[in-house]
């Protein structure tokens, strides 16, 4: 029966791949801190997606009669100097902070993965050239590089994203390169070459998928770092500009009023911390789950 045979061969690898995924998920679900991290991160992401439904007030609604109000049942996190509801601004702000975090990491991982794969696969001159460039970029502390690029590109969402993503390309490149070096002499690559697979196909279908897990963990862990860096950029007046409710610029706005209304500084900071903490906890768990050998 040719029909069932094709069904079998088609479904066989699928089942295997799924089972691996399930195994990782199972190990993850046993790790309580990873689960907590995942849940908190999910809540924050949902908060960002459904911001208009969750925020009790529009983020830019000025109410001067109620300015600098302490937290109360009406404004649970209080209001700022213009009477804008801080909780609503935090909810809206999560859109910028989280999306900058995810997109900057996606951008840097994508570029870094390509560079790292080329460097690792071809070796020699290509490798030397790419790695020397990486060395130079890495010699500048990340946040300083982000400041320089941010100043040069000017403010705005995409410019900030580029500024933050650029410096992180180095890490993704190094990781991918190391992973590619690790699999370079595996037999399945020899097999792929021997059946005359093209270089692009080998890199994209065979090399990269097998060096993906290290990158995945580091990407998860670096989203938190980017969120913090983005907040810092807007804190010093770069990045996303007011009146956009960005967590860092909210803290900057409350800085001079810290004596009279500390809630303006406290709450946005707590949300930055929650976002970063949850992603770090999840990333930690993910690393252990993907490579159980590390956790003896």
């Amino acid at each position: 029966m040719p029909d069932s045979a094709t069904v079998n061969t088609a479904s066989a690898p699928k089942v295997k791949r799924q089972s691996e995924l399930v195994a990782v998920a199972k190990r993850l679900s046993k790790n309580s801190s990873a689960v907590i991290g995942f849940v908190v991160a999910m809540i924050l992401i949902l908060m960002a997606i459904f911001a208009p439904l969750i925020a009790p007030y529009p983020y830019d609604k000025v109410d001067l009669f109620n300015s600098k109000a302490a937290p109360s049942s009406e404004h649970i996190f209080g209001t700022d100097e213009l009477g804008r509801d801080i909780f609503s601004r935090i909810v809206w702000g999560s859109r910028y902070s989280l999306s900058i975090g995810f997109l900057a990491v996606l951008f840097s991982s994508g570029v870094g993965m390509l560079l790292g794969a080329f460097a690792g696969y071809f070796g020699g001159m290509v490798d030397d050239g790419i790695m020397r460039l990486i060395d130079i970029v890495q010699a500048i502390p990340g946040i300083l590089l982000a400041i320089a690029i941010s100043v040069a590109l000017g403010p705005g969402f995409f410019n900030t994203l580029l500024a933050l993503g650029f410096g992180m390309i180095t890490m993704a490149t190094r990781l991918t390169r190391a992973a590619v070096f690790g699999v370079r002499h595996e037999e399945y690559l020899e097999a792929a070459t021997s059946i005359n697979a093209s270089t692009t196909r080998i890199i994209f279908r065979h090399v990269l998928p097998n060096s993906f897990s290290a990158l995945l963990v580091s990407a998860t862990m670096s989203i938190g770092g980017v969120i913090m860096a983005a907040a810092m950029l807007s804190f010093i007046g770069l990045g996303v500009q007011p009146p956009t409710p960005e967590w860092g610029s909210m803290i900057a706005g409350g800085r001079t009023l810290i004596r009279s209304c500390p809630w303006m500084v406290t709450f946005p900071g707590i949300f930055i911390m929650l976002a970063v903490l949850s992603l770090n906890m999840f990333g930690d768990g993910l690393r252990d789950a993907l490579d159980p050998r590390l956790k003896k």
């Binding site: 300083l144 400041i147 690029i149 803290i251 911390m273």
Partner: protein
């Protein structure tokens, strides 16, 4: 050993050049005319053109780049501020000691608080000490330093009134900035020490030491710790970069006139010559620290010394192990 030092010094050259060229190129794309800012709003078009000519701003990119690089490499001259028309170098050198002091105190905090935390966590594997220590460390890396700084000010200056909220002066002015800046470093150090210690504790020579009937404290302090600390030295180097970069926002919050505050001031007044020079300057300071760390590492780690003492095998060995491996491990 001297060969290693020489080699490492030579490696600095492309990094210094590369950093300068990269930052110059990035900042080259800034829109706006610096001369308009230098001469103020009353300047006529002819004045501006003449001044541009004098500063060589109309020259092509490569000529300007060459002049800038030459200034830094041969004269250690970082150019002039657009707003104040003063040389940036004097200002940077004048401010550097303060920034370095803060960064150095932070590194000391990182080492002397983070390391014990990591050791305690490793020895009490999966116990309460481990859990509490790693929980603190997880929080430490998850809080932005500028927010920690503001929270410390809120608690210790505004509420308790124990420490000054900003300014410079005696030692009490340094406490809050340094704690705030060192927080993530302490956390990283603790995590790194823990995992490094756990790895060492499993080795055979520790089992041997215990089997000999050695006291547990001697096993840990004499046999495990020195080996566990080797990889941690690299963390200190990276920490220095983090601390130097962290001072930017910390100095701004605590009104400490260091390189970082100068940089932020440059951003606010749109004096991008200051931004450009400060970024390069801090990056060079960081590169110098990394150089010192690598030399220290070579001095302490007999394996690297051995590589350079040997003959033909040295090159091959160094290429495959050595620097590459260490860096990758902490990337």
């Amino acid at each position: 050993m001297s060969r290693y030092v020489l080699r490492r010094l030579l490696q600095m050259i492309p990094v210094v050049l590369g950093v300068t060229i990269l930052v110059f190129t990035i900042m080259y794309f800034i829109p706006g005319d610096p001369v308009k800012m230098m001469l103020g709003p009353e300047a006529t078009a002819a004045d501006i053109a003449a001044y541009r000519e004098k500063l060589g701003l109309d020259d092509p990119y490569l000529v300007r780049l060459g002049r800038f690089v030459e200034g830094i490499v041969f004269h250690f001259d970082f150019g002039e501020s657009w707003v104040y028309n003063t040389p940036v170098t004097t200002e940077l050198l004048h401010r550097l000691p303060r920034t370095l002091t803060i960064a150095a105190i932070c590194i000391l905090l990182q080492v002397f608080v983070g390391t014990p935390l990591g050791i305690i966590a490793a020895l009490d594997r999966n116990g309460w000490g481990d859990r509490i220590g790693m929980f603190i460390a997880l929080f430490g890396v998850s809080m932005p330093n500028f927010w920690v700084a503001l929270m410390l000010v809120l608690l210790f200056s505004v509420r308790l009134g124990w420490l000054p909220p900003y300014g410079i002066g005696g030692i009490q002015y340094y406490i809050l900035p340094c704690i705030a800046n060192a927080f993530p470093g302490i956390a990283t150090q603790a995590r790194q020490t823990r995992s490094s210690m756990l790895e060492v504790i499993r080795s055979d020579y520790i089992t041997t030491a215990r089997a000999k009937g050695m006291s547990e404290s001697r096993v840990i302090l004499r046999h495990a710790l020195p080996n566990a600390l080797l990889p941690v030295i690299t963390v200190i180097g990276n920490g220095m970069g983090m601390m130097l970069a962290g001072t930017v926002v910390i100095e701004m919050i605590f009104a400490i006139p260091g390189v970082g505050w100068y940089l932020v001031g440059g951003i606010n007044t749109r004096d991008y010559a200051i931004v450009q020079s400060s970024v390069i300057f801090l990056a060079l300071a960081f590169a110098t620290v990394m150089l010192l760390v690598d030399l220290l590492y070579a001095f302490i780690d007999p394996r690297i010394k051995a590589q350079f003492a040997g003959h033909k095998r040295r090159k091959r060995h160094h290429k495959s192990k050595g620097r590459l491996e260490r860096r990758e491990h902490y990337a």
